[in-house]
Subunit: 462 residues, 2 copies
Amino acid sequence: MSIAQNTETDVKLRCISCGATPASAVQDFRCTACGDLLEFFFPGWTFDSPPFDPAALKSLWLDRRASRDALDQSGVWRFRELLPHIPNPKNKEHVITLREGNTPLYRLPRCARATGVENLHAKHQGMNPTASFKDTGMTVAASSAHQGGFRWVACASTGNTSASMAAYAARGNMHSLVLIPDGKISWGKLSQSLDYGALTCQLRTDFDGCVRILNDLVRQKPVYLLNSVNPYRIEGQKTAAIELMEQLGWEPPDHIIVPGGNLGNSSAIGKALLEMRELKLISRLPKLSIIQAHGANPFYRSVREFGGKKLEPMTADTLATAIRIGNPASWKKALRVLQATGGEVEEVTEVEIAAAKAEIGADGIGCEPASAVTLAGLKKLRRSGFVKSGDAVVLILTGHLLKDPDFTIKFHRGDLFAGSPDTGTPDAAEAARTKHLQHAPVVLDADLGAVIAALDAAERNS
Amino acid sequence: MSIAQNTETDVKLRCISCGATPASAVQDFRCTACGDLLEFFFPGWTFDSPPFDPAALKSLWLDRRASRDALDQSGVWRFRELLPHIPNPKNKEHVITLREGNTPLYRLPRCARATGVENLHAKHQGMNPTASFKDTGMTVAASSAHQGGFRWVACASTGNTSASMAAYAARGNMHSLVLIPDGKISWGKLSQSLDYGALTCQLRTDFDGCVRILNDLVRQKPVYLLNSVNPYRIEGQKTAAIELMEQLGWEPPDHIIVPGGNLGNSSAIGKALLEMRELKLISRLPKLSIIQAHGANPFYRSVREFGGKKLEPMTADTLATAIRIGNPASWKKALRVLQATGGEVEEVTEVEIAAAKAEIGADGIGCEPASAVTLAGLKKLRRSGFVKSGDAVVLILTGHLLKDPDFTIKFHRGDLFAGSPDTGTPDAAEAARTKHLQHAPVVLDADLGAVIAALDAAERNS
């Protein structure tokens, strides 16, 4: 069984800290010399003599959109020139695809007015097959597991990774093991891992505790690790940024804003931006900014308090369960991206997240709470002056509304924050301001008059 | 305000029963002469002298896949030559699109082995923006409402229509009124209508009761009706069949199998097939078969007991809430399609639905319960000999797994049918057979040994 090998001359594994270039990765995808993360790099990709003609590459990718080939129809494999090869690239049987990627870019007219940023778009990665951005990385990493001959794949998850992994494992005839924190993932995400037939273990710990156990497990059992320390996942997730640039006619926006949880997605999007500039596919870099929930803000604190020199793990607590992570694996990769692109890091409160989610919904676009930190963060970046009204801004929405219906229903019924926040706090003031966004369902007798009365009342208030 | 007018010479409204061709529709979209449904027809589309060159049309549609134009990127508007014109077609501001359609066609290898139908595909309409097939019709009908100048749109719904309508209304700056049966739609669907800002009324009645009140309401108030009696919805939903034929290289399968609820979708897909043959886009017709849940089987009974001469409304009861409909509006349209294509009608039990849903999930494809009636129905059509092992079969999956997580979690925990069905019934035997499909989540302490024990046990059982 092989995990990830430097068999190709044009792609290598490298440790992000000590720079070691191992011939292959061990089961936990950590550097055997220093224990830090590995990444793929492409020695032949140099700015002065890029190996591809940028215009030809763009044209090739565009042509593939009209192809009936399964690889071309995938929004990930369509860009396969920028991915590490799955060994035997012609051996398509090892590519497990659900036609991931191909996600829409939406204008957000109401949010644009509310933030004073006229040129505001959302790239909705929640429109992937299992309804989160995880699918773009999973198709590459699961294919690698399949090629390596593994019977079992595994991940620790707040719910989105497990849903995606279980689907791709089922598709590739592999067994999957899911470790999730008991009681702390949404019903929707749990239902996905069960439906796709995963062995689903709810552990009496948090996400970070699940990660620790899984790291021990893969050292003892022939189980392929599919957490985002797996560098194939990062490679697949790069394609969201490539697809975004294509959608924008290869004209980069001024800002890209990403939710920050385990920080693999920020790392992937940033890596893609840097590589695209190296390959002359784009001529300048957008600033990539990362937003965390206040209750799960270890990266925010790392940058603001310690200048990025260290990261102090914390016990994470936020209703945005997808980013309820206290010890993010990819923080060093994300830090590098932040510095290379000149982006910012911000934190937002629970009430700010809920209000932003409702505002995105009012634009007819549904997302899960973690995605909405991007809009909440944009508001703060506007107030600080980091984002200007004339700037072009793209928010990365990472999960679909249906990932967490409970949050939405509780918000609109007005009991999401029951018991908190305390009167008189800034959050309480913000909660009061967001009351107008709430639309509780009305229960009525089956009577025409009652419905007309409700309609007339809504018309008066509109 | 205009609802639907015969202003174009190439498209007309016509009553499906008395053949009247009104110049425009009234608010309830019923024929003013006889009260039956209206449909669009295209007098110029004749088999002997079709108005389009089929090869040129196919080529045009394919080229649009590489376009950056919003209309071309929609999997509905890409096929706009086969849609009735929204008045002022160049006036794109009235087209409300979320880039609907563009849904994947998946092979189902395990289901193929289980049914003995090797050439088995699923067209997954649950991959639309609001996660059900409703979006394809809604983009056309909501655009028509927008063009007509309406401030309010409304629907009665089991949940999917309301989710879709609320999103498109928000996108088009219109208000939306949702009438849903209290307590009988899934949490996920309710959350969508709230998130998109609809006025959501839960009425103490069933879906059919909601329809009755809404029909009265639109006669009194300037509210645009977006139920599937609206013929624009049927037109938009046709595109799923067009896109499917394109995905199959314009080589029709032998069978298309569709869930039967309000029967608008069957009608739309059948209408598209007949029109495509008329226009020489395809050379033969697939048989379109319709599957209902036993507890909501008025159409099945109409065909089997009354030869389609009448339909007796019933009180519907099924866990497949999306097709929990006792008085389907479009039954006459669906009957015509069944007869024209030579399709069959079948009914399936609750246990058969649950088992089929789990089998589809094991192929890595998630769907809601109503979608799974297609696979359950295919099994019966195989047993009856109507579908042969060498036939090419396409199942239409109508909604995403995340539309109803509760159903999935209950099934895998083993308490979906708690208290029923009775021991000794055929359903009880079927339930026993499906036990192997259930994978209950395991709650464990955060302990490596416990996880390894669970893994080893699963490995032994696999």
